[in-house]
Every structure is written in structure tokens, then in C-alpha cells.
């Protein structure tokens, strides 16, 4: 039988045609590429780490488990972390070859480093990515991928400019449970989608603290990076997630995982909502020095009428995403990676994969395949930028205490004050 000319299919058409729970994005396993056994050094991708704190050490074993990755260097502005990370990499390879750099810029100058894994504080995610891209390195970067919407657009432009292969650490795109939920939504199994409900947990208030000497082994000025200079206050430094200068709080810190899923399910990766409104409850300034919300709720509306709602409330374990349609709903509970749905018959379509978001292997394999083929990853800069934009717009709405209309093409709000909050000039010598 001769093949017939196949009409070009959109991704949505393809997914609609699938009659069963199809696999996740097709990722050729390493075994097929001959990468399960020994890989010639010349065929390995040299990795370097920018930031080797707790999160970096969480994901390091996954990266180290790939035979086509050679971790060649680590960098951190804290000497204790640097020493610890080098020891872990050296222990894996049974040698002392992992180079350690107190300044990542020196590491980026190394020809041995092909790609970087960035797991710093949020203030360094976007900026560090841009430094890596300009040095010709490919990138894996933790979320939230940027500090501001403007920085996000610059990240997208920089990666396109330098042909950088970039992947955000939004691993749920490579997770069976989330992929299943997304496909069920796209296939219309819950009818017409009208609401996406998401939840992150309640943030803390950080008690006041006084200025203290910078601990030995810290390059505090570089640690601050693009953020305005500020005296070393242990509470601010150790809980940087909850200060406007260095982050934007829980809704932005964790919310990107879920807005990313919402964008995926809605097939709006290159655009976004057109309206945002959020309210937050901030810590009592008499008792706390942190200045990001403790609880809150954000609403957004897409041009097609679909509403997204993000709650910041409850306990850490209570986070979820729930797609609600006019004929049912489907929910993924993040802590347990459990999918529930109504009608329950939807669940019979679920595959047998049990790999949860904690297993980033498929995500990393996607990155490695794309680095070799020079094609965009499943969480490329545009995708990641659009997902975090939603959270960032909510925080702006919360701070300004008003509803904001958004033009996702021009990336401008209908309020000048909000537009002036789109970007923060980095503190020199750092730049976008």
C-alpha cells in the first residue's frame, strides 16, 4: 500500500484523534540511542552547576545517572556548598576531576562545559541563564525562571539570539499523571473546560532580624546579584523567597508549575490570559520583615473565557490542579501524584506509568535529546516565560490592589504603574 499524502495536523487535532490515553511526549529512551552502556567521553555532554544548594542536590543524582552526561564543574558563591557539591560529583566518578568555581562566570569560560544546570535563588535564575546563553552554554534552569516579566522576555530573546537550548525545571510536563490530565482535558473528556483551579500553600511571615556580619566563605555581594544591595540580615538571606527584592513569594515560587500545566492544557504556550486580579494578605510589618503574601487568591481570564484561579492557602501537602468542565472534572494532587476525576470512567484510560514529578529522568532525557538535535525542549523559554508571567501578573495586581488587563502580544498592561513594574534594572555589574 502506498502512503497517502497526509494533511498537516495540528497538535490539537492529533491529540483529539487519540482514542486512548496516549503516551507522554515521545521521548526516545537513552537505550535506543545506545546510551545505556558506556558512552565515549567525546559523546558526553559536559555539565556545570550554577548554584549547588538544596535544590541542586535534589536533582544532581538524576543528572549524574545519565551516562551521556559528564558533570565537569560546579559553582557557588558559598564556599561550604561548593565544597560539598564537588565532593558529591567526585564521589560519583571516583576521581577529583570536578572543577569548583566560586564565580560561575569563570566556569562559563571553560570549554569543557557544554551546558549548565541552574538551581540558585530566584534572583539568579533568569540572569544566570542569560549569562550562560551568551557564553554559548545550553541550559536547564529551575523555576521560577525569572524575577520579572520583562526579564522573561529578555530571556526568550537571548536564547533565540544565541540558539540556546533551554529547559525550565517544570518537570510536570514530563510526568505521566499531569500528561494524562492534560490529554483528557484536550480530548474533551470533561466537556468544555471553563475553570482551572490551582493551589499552593500558605507562606510564612519572617520575624524581624538585625544586621549581622557576613559569614566566612560567602561572597554576599555576588550572592545578592541583580537585587538592590542590602545589608546582610540573616532572616532576609535565609528566607529570600519571601522578600520582594529577591523573589515574589509562594504563589510565584511554586505557582509556575501549575500555570505551566494550565497553559499546556489550554494550548496557549505562546500567549496567555488577558485579565488578572489578585488579593493577598501580607505579614504584619510590626512583627515581620518579609513583604510577600502569606495567603492570597489570583484570578485570570483567557480570551476564550476560561478562568484560572490560584489559591495560596492551606498546607504544603494540599497543592493541586483541577480542571473543571461542563461535564466533569479532573484533578492531580501534587503531593501524592494522584489523579481523580468525575466521571470516574475517565480514570480507566490512564496508563500504567507510576513515575511521578520527583523522577525527572524523562525531563532530563528530553533536554539531552534536544541539546543534540538543536530543537526546542518541552519547556522552552517562551513556554516558561508565559507560565511565570501569569504568577508575576498576579503579584503585581496584588501589590497595586487593582484588576489588570493584559495584552499578551505586546506584553503590556492597561495601567502605567503596572507597566513600570514589568522590569527591574539589575544592579551593576550584572545585566540582562
Amino acid at each position: 500500500m502506498k502512503p497517502q499524502a497526509a494533511p498537516a495536523l495540528s497538535r490539537r487535532q492529533f491529540l483529539k484523534r487519540a482514542t486512548t490515553a496516549a503516551a507522554l511526549p515521545l521521548i526516545v529512551p537513552g537505550s535506543v540511542l545506545g546510551l545505556n552502556g558506556a558512552v565515549a567521553p567525546s559523546n558526553r555532554i559536559g555539565f556545570g552547576a550554577i548554584g549547588v544548594g538544596n535544590r541542586a542536590l535534589d536533582t544532581l543524582p538524576t543528572f549524574l545517572s545519565f551516562p551521556d552526561i559528564q558533570y565537569v564543574a560546579v559553582s557557588d558563591f558559598r564556599a561550604d556548598r561548593l565544597k560539598n557539591a564537588k565532593a558529591k560529583v567526585d564521589a560519583k566518578y571516583g576521581n577529583q576531576d570536578c572543577a569548583d568555581y566560586p564565580d560561575f562566570r569563570e566556569m562559563l569560560a571553560s570549554k569543557d562545559v557544554d551546558a549548565v544546570a541552574i538551581a540558585t535563588g530566584n534572583r539568579w535564575h533568569g540572569l544566570g541563564s542569560m549569562y550562560a546563553a551568551r557564553a554559548g552554554k545550553d541550559i536547564y534552569c529551575e523555576k521560577p525562571v525569572t524575577l520579572t516579566i520583562g526579564e522573561g522576555r529578555k530571556l526568550v530573546d537571548t536564547c533565540r539570539r544565541f540558539g540556546t537550548i533551554y529547559q525550565a525545571g517544570t518537570q510536570r510536563r514530563s510526568t505521566a499523571s499531569y500528561g494524562f490530565a492534560m490529554e483528557m482535558v484536550r480530548q474533551g473528556r470533561i466537556g468544555r473546560l471553563h475553570t482551572v483551579e490551582m493551589q499552593v500553600w500558605e507562606g510564612p511571615g519572617i520575624p524581624h532580624d538585625k544586621v549581622a556580619p557576613v559569614p566566612k566563605g560567602w561572597d554576599y555581594d555576588k550572592w545578592l546579584g541583580q537585587s538592590p544591595w542590602y545589608p546582610f540580615v540573616p532572616a532576609r538571606v535565609n528566607s529570600w523567597q519571601y522578600f520582594w527584592d529577591t523573589a515574589e513569594g509562594i504563589m510565584t515560587d511554586m505557582g509556575e508549575h501549575y500555570t505551566d500545566q494550565m497553559q499546556w492544557a489550554l494550548d496557549t504556550d505562546n500567549t496567555g490570559p488577558v485579565e488578572f486580579e489578585a488579593q493577598g494578605v501580607f505579614p504584619d510589618p510590626a512583627k515581620f520583615c518579609s513583604d510577600t503574601p502569606i495567603t492570597g487568591v489570583g484570578h485570570c481570564k483567557y480570551a476564550n473565557g476560561v478562568t484560572g484561579v490560584m489559591y495560596q492557602r492551606g498546607a504544603f501537602k494540599d497543592r493541586y490542579i483541577r480542571y473543571i468542565g461542563d461535564q466533569g472534572w479532573i484533578q492531580v494532587d501534587d503531593e501524592t501524584d494522584t489523579v481523580t476525576a468525575e466521571p470516574k470512567s475517565i480514570l480507566s484510560l490512564k496508563g500504567t506509568s507510576t513515575a511521578g514529578w520527583g523522577d525527572a529522568s524523562a525531563h532530563v532525557r528530553n533536554l539531552l535529546n534536544c541539546i543534540r538535535s538543536r530543537t526546542p525542549t518541552i519547556c522552552n523559554p517562551e513556554v516558561a516565560h508565559r507560565a511565570i508571567t501569569i504568577c508575576q501578573a498576579w503579584t503585581l495586581s496584588m501589590r497595586l490592589g487593582r484588576k489588570l488587563k493584559w495584552d499578551p502580544v505586546k506584553e503590556r498592561f492597561d495601567a502605567e504603574e503596572a507597566n513600570r513594574m514589568l522590569y527591574r534594572e539589575p544592579r551593576a555589574p550584572w545585566r540582562c
Binding site: A6, T20, V28, K137, R161, F162, V281, F282, G401
Partner: protein, 669 residues
């Protein structure tokens, strides 16, 4: 939904330590503002941030006159004598609401390394004009990090009027300044900036090369946006020089291919035929975007000349084109000697293929021994579009196959959930090949319903192979479970009993009666327990012991008292204990009566231990009375203690005295 939200909004109302960002406030007087500004000016870490919160809240009030007063307060915070932290707060707010009023004070901050950063934080969001003048004016006299900061901000603000100022700085002895100036010119990227970049010496310091590259790429983008393709092309081509780093050449090639679509195909072929392996993936990745109608055929013809990884990438690109030539090439790749290429072709066809792929996949299946590859082909077949037409093509392929391949195709048909799937599966379940029949029954166990019940029973009664029969029994049980009317279930099985000839078939049918669950089925089982054939009697007892609910109690007790063997008695005892255990959720007098009957019928300590295990779950005071005497039986003492403890704990609230007495008795024992 409302009930889920209520606790959340209540928490917002009652928490005393929290402050709502949107809470309205009264309009402050001048004195109020002056007081708060004075407090803010002395802020140091460790102190209350209330003055900052208050100012920020007032700034959100919709009053332009109030805004002016507050801006004046923010400007006041910038003056010497206030803490750095207060100045940082003021700059952050001025970046949002600042007007020309604040520019002189911000200008002053540009002079210091310590405050230039926060000054630019505010200035960068100002509209074009006066803020640009201030920044430009500050460059000549600024030094150190402040100078870099100002140049960076000028670049970010794309201030065309700064080109004349910046161009000479590209030769500054301080390489940090030169680098910042080059990058800023690249960001401005107008005609004058572009000329300044192009004029930079080719042998510039290595430290400046990356800045020059970036600026050149930015200028090329600006030229492209200005529809000056010729200039952009020249800039990109200059960055393809072999002496430049791989990533620069890759970036330039990618941009060039996007820019010059007319020449892109030829350019890509040259790259593929060339020796620069680093550029080939970029060329291949861009095949998908070529507008030319013959591009697929042209690049499909290149496949044999590519390495295996390059073929994988090319197939991915051709799949994105999904035209006839692309499909043909990808189909041919299913026969590649390279596993990775075959796998990519399989996945690609799963995405873009149709009915026409079925014979290709069938051939690939027949020749493949790799489990993962076969699974990938199956996955592709499952999602292959074409509905019934594709189903029929798979059935045709199935009829020409055998063994494992046929079994896999049978499962595939089931997973496609087409309307004719069950019919086909029933036909395949009757195949003589056990592997095929087993696969068909397994698939049917997931999909068969009342319509398939009688055909399944026929197949079950004719199954000659024990493994196949077991699968058939399992599939039939599932079909029974999906048959809503219990009478239809048992009548179908009863009819099958009429035509079943072998003892094995009769045994299998007896095993299905508990799934029927109605009176007729129970009677049929009871009759079978006293039949003449020993094997059938044993099978009936086994089935009876599996009876699903308490309705089988009397029949089971009757069989228990007149067992055909000791083993049968034991089976029924276990069945009875299971049933009372399942009734523990409703502890009442009837349940206690059942336990009493069981305890009386027990013939050994083993029986008693079994019963005590269930009795412990009966939260009823009389259950306690049944268990307590057994504490004196040393053979079951441990189980009795556990049961007493469990029951006493469960009834403690409703029957405290009985529970306490029982627990005391445990202590005294």
C-alpha cells in the same frame, strides 16, 4: 465550590497578624505623611516596617494630589541623613510612581557606587526624555561600578541620543566600561549604533569579543526588523567564520536560515554536504520550516548520507512537514539497520501516520525481536487515526500473522476501543494458538459486557488448554460483573451448563456462579455439592466458599455440617468467617447470632483462632461476651486477648463499664 472557599475567606478575616494589601484607608493629612516619612527615614533592619507599609498603601489610593505629597516624601527620603534602607524603599516606589519631581534627587544618587544601583532601579522605568538626559549627563563624571550601572541602564532604555557618548567608550582602557558600552550600543542598535559596532577593530581584545558578538547579533536583529535584510545577512554571514566559536556559528546560521528563506534550502544542503558537523543539526532542525514544496523530497534523499543520529533528527523534521514525500521517507526508515532510526520513525508515524502505515508496522513487527521496539509499534498503532478503516487494516494484518505478533495485534485492537473490537476479539479467542487466544481473552476481560457473555461462555466451555480456560473464565467473570441483571447472568451460565460436555468446563462454570450472585445460582451450587462426580462436588464447595454475600449463609452452614471432606469443611469455615467479617460494619444481634453459631460449630482451636480474628472487629458488647470465655482456653488465649482488647476499645465510649471490666480482666490474667 462555595463550601471549599468559605474557610479560606474566613481565615483572611480573622487572622490578626495579617494585613490585606487591598484594605482601604482614610486619606492622610500632611501631618500624617510627614510623621510617617520621618519614621521611614530612620528605618533599620530589626525595626517595624509599618511606615513603609503605610506609605505604600497610601500610594495606591486614587488621588493625584495625595500622590504628589507622597512623592515629595519619597524624594525627602533620598536626602542625606536618611538610612540606606529608606532610600532603597523610596527608589523602588519611585520606579513605580515617580515623576520629574524626583529626578534631581535621583540624579544625585547616580554619583555614588553605593546608590547608583537603586537610582537606576527607579530611572529605568521613567518615560524617555529628561531621565535620559540625566543618565547621559552622569556618564562622564561617574566612575567605577556607578559608571557601568549608568551605561547599562542607558542601553536598556535604548537611548539613541547616547550613541555619540558611548561610541568612544568602546575603546576605554577600562575593559568593563568598554564592554558595557559595546553591549549598550547593541541594545540601541539604530543606524548609528550599528555603524559604531561595525567600526570596531576586528582584532579587538579577546575580553571584548563576546560583547562584540552579542552587539552584532542584536544589530542584525534590528536590521531584520527594519526590513534591511541585506545588512542583516552580511552581519550574520560575518559570524559564520570558522575561527568563531561553534555556538556563534550555530546562532548565526539559525538566524540566517530564518531570514533568507529563498536561499535557505540551498544553504542547508551545503551545510549537510560540508564537513562542519556542529552546524548540521541546526540545518536539519530548520528543514521543518522550509516553504518549498519539494523540500521533503530533497532532504529525504539526504537520509542515506547522514549518520544515525542525524537521520533521527531529520525524521523528526520531516515528520513536522508531514507531506507525502516525508511520510514515504519515514516509512522506509522503519527498515533501517539502526535501532534509533527505526524508533524515531515509529514514533513519527504514530504522530502523523494513518491507515496506510498499518502494513508497514505489521512488517516491522514481524521482523523485530526487541521488546521495547515492539511496544513502541503497538503504541503507535493504538493512536493511529482512521477509526474503523484502520481497525480493519489491523485485522487484515492480524490474519496474516501468527504467534506473538498476532497476540500483540489482538491487544492493539482492544486498546483502540473501536466498535468492532469485541467481535474480533471473540473470533481470536477461539484461535488454536494459545498465545493468541490468551491475549484475546485478556483484552476481553477489560471490554466484554453482557453482549459478549454467551459467546464467552461458549468459548469457555470449548477451551481445551488449561491456561486459556483460566483466562476465559476470568474474562467471563468480568462480563458477568458488567451484566446488570443478575437473572440474566445465572440464566446464561445455566444454559452453558446444559451444553458443556467436559468436566473441566463444568468446573469452570461452577466457578462463575458466585459472580452471578442470585438465588438461582445459589441453588445450582447447592445441588452441585451433592452430585455424583467427586471433582464437581469439590468445585461446587470451592465456589460456595467464595459466595459474595451473607445470602449464602444458610446454604454454607448446611454444607459445613455435612461436608464431603475435612478439606471442604475447612474451606466453608473460612468462607463463613469471611462473610461475618464483612458484616462487622453493621454489628447487630443477627451478626452476634452468626458468631455464636460459628463458635458452636468450631471443631478445633484453629477454627476458633480464625473466628476470633473476625470477632475482634465486631464492635458490640455481646461480641465481648463471646470472646471473654475463650481467654481460659490456652490454645487460643493470644487471639482471644487481642479480640477482647479490640472490641473493648471500640465500644468504650458507648459501653464504658463493660469495656473497663473486660480490660481489667485482661490485666488480671
Amino acid at each position: 465550590m462555595k463550601s471549599r472557599l468559605l474557610p479560606f475567606f474566613l481565615s483572611l478575616l480573622v487572622c490578626p497578624l495579617l494585613v490585606s494589601a487591598a484594605a482601604p484607608d482614610k486619606v492622610p493629612t500632611k501631618a500624617d505623611i510627614a510623621k510617617v516619612v520621618a519614621e521611614a527615614g530612620t528605618y533599620q533592619p530589626g525595626q517595624s516596617r509599618e511606615p513603609f507599609r503605610q506609605m505604600e498603601e497610601w500610594l495606591r489610593l486614587p488621588s493625584s494630589s495625595l500622590r504628589k505629597q507622597l512623592e515629595a516624601g519619597l524624594v525627602q527620603l533620598l536626602s542625606p541623613g536618611n538610612t540606606y534602607e529608606a532610600q532603597e524603599f523610596a527608589c523602588t516606589q519611585l520606579g513605580i510612581v515617580g515623576s520629574k519631581m524626583a529626578l534631581p534627587a535621583l540624579s544625585h544618587l547616580l554619583k555614588s557606587d553605593q546608590t547608583a544601583g537603586i537610582a537606576c532601579l527607579a530611572l529605568t522605568t521613567y518615560p524617555a526624555g529628561k531621565a535620559d538626559e540625566i543618565l547621559r549627563a552622569a556618564v562622564p563624571t561617574a566612575s567605577g561600578i556607578a559608571r557601568i550601572q549608568i551605561i547599562n541602564t542607558i542601553g536598556d532604555r535604548r537611548d539613541s541620543r547616547a550613541v555619540k557618548l558611548l561610541a568612544p567608550l568602546t575603546n576605554d582602557a577600562d575593559l568593563s566600561v568598554a564592554r558595557a558600552a559595546i553591549v549598550a550600543l547593541g541594545k540601541i542598535a539604530d543606524q548609528a549604533a550599528w555603524q559604531a559596532i561595525v567600526a570596531l577593530p576586528k582584532d579587538a581584545q579577546p575580553d571584548l569579543q563576546s560583547a562584540i558578538t552579542e552587539a552584532t547579533l542584536r544589530c542584525a536583529e534590528a536590521r531584520t526588523a527594519a526590513r534591511d535584510a541585506k545588512a542583516a545577512k552580511a552581519l550574520y554571514e560575518g559570524l559564520l567564520a570558522p575561527s568563531l566559536p561553534t555556538y556563534v556559528r550555530r546562532a548565526a546560521l539559525g538566524a540566517l536560515l530564518r531570514l533568507d528563506k529563498a536561499q535557505a534550502q540551498q544553504h542547508m544542503l551545503e551545510v549537510l554536504h560540508g564537513s562542519d558537523a556542529a552546524l548540521k543539526p541546526v540545518a536539519i532542525a530548520n528543514v521543518r520550516a522550509l516553504p518549498s514544496g519539494n523540500a521533503s523530497a530533497v532532504f529525504a534523499a539526504e537520509l542515506p548520507n547522514l549518520t544515525a543520529p542525524e537521520q533521527v533528527w531529520m525524521i523528526d523534521s520531516l515528520a513536522a512537514r508531514a507531506d507525502k514525500a516525508a511520510c514515504t521517507a519515514i516509512g522506509n526508515s522503519l527498515a533501517s539497520p539502526h535501532a534509533a532510526v527505526r524508533r524515531e520513525a515509529i514514533d513519527a508515524l504514530g504522530r502523523i501516520g494513518g491507515t496506510w502505515c498499518v502494513p508497514l508496522f505489521a512488517r516491522a513487527l514481524a521482523s523485530s525481536t526487541d521488546t521495547d521496539e515492539r511496544r513502541a509499534i503497538q503504541s503507535a498503532l493504538i493512536v493511529l487515526p482512521g477509526g474503523g478503516q484502520t481497525d480493519r487494516a489491523i485485522i487484515a494484518a492480524l490474519k496474516n500473522s501468527s504467534g506473538g505478533t498476532r497476540a500483540l495485534l489482538v491487544t492493539t485492537i482492544a486498546r483502540r476501543e473501536g466498535p468492532t473490537a469485541n467481535m474480533l476479539l471473540l473470533a481470536e479467542a477461539g484461535q488454536s494458538d494459545p498465545a493468541v487466544a490468551t491475549a484475546a481473552f485478556r483484552a476481553l476481560s477489560k471490554s466484554a459486557g453482557s453482549k459478549e457473555l454467551t459467546p464467552l461462555l461458549e468459548l469457555l466451555t470449548h477451551a481445551g488448554n488449561a491456561e486459556v480456560r483460566a483466562e476465559a473464565e476470568s474474562a467471563t467473570a468480568q462480563a458477568i460483573a458488567r451484566t446488570k441483571n443478575p437473572a440474566n447472568r445465572s440464566s446464561a451460565v445455566k444454559a452453558a451448563q446444559g451444553w458443556a460436555q467436559s468436566v473441566d468446563s463444568q468446573i469452570a462454570l461452577l466457578g462463575l456462579l458466585p459472580a452471578c450472585g442470585d438465588d438461582a445460582a445459589l441453588k445450582a451450587l447447592k445441588a452441585a455439592t451433592v452430585g455424583s462426580d467427586t471433582r464437581l462436588r469439590a468445585a461446587a464447595v470451592r465456589a460456595l466458599a467464595d459466595w459474595p454475600d451473607i445470602s449464602g449463609w444458610e446454604t454454607m452452614v448446611a454444607v459445613y455440617h455435612q461436608p464431603i471432606s475435612e478439606a471442604a469443611r475447612g474451606l466453608i469455615m473460612r468462607g463463613l468467617v469471611r462473610l461475618v467479617g464483612e458484616e462487622n460494619a453493621h454489628p447487630d444481634a443477627k451478626l452476634i447470632a452468626h458468631y455464636r453459631e460459628l463458635l458452636a460449630a468450631a471443631r478445633s482451636d484453629a477454627d476458633l483462632r480464625l473466628i476470633l480474628g473476625a470477632l475482634g472487629g465486631a464492635a458490640h458488647p455481646q461480641a465481648l461476651q463471646l470472646a471473654l470465655p475463650l481467654l481460659d482456653n490456652t490454645g487460643v488465649r493470644a487471639e482471644a486477648e487481642a479480640a477482647v482488647k479490640k472490641i473493648a476499645t471500640a465500644i468504650k465510649a458507648q459501653h464504658p463499664q463493660a469495656a473497663e471490666d473486660a480490660l481489667k480482666r485482661l490485666q488480671t490474667k
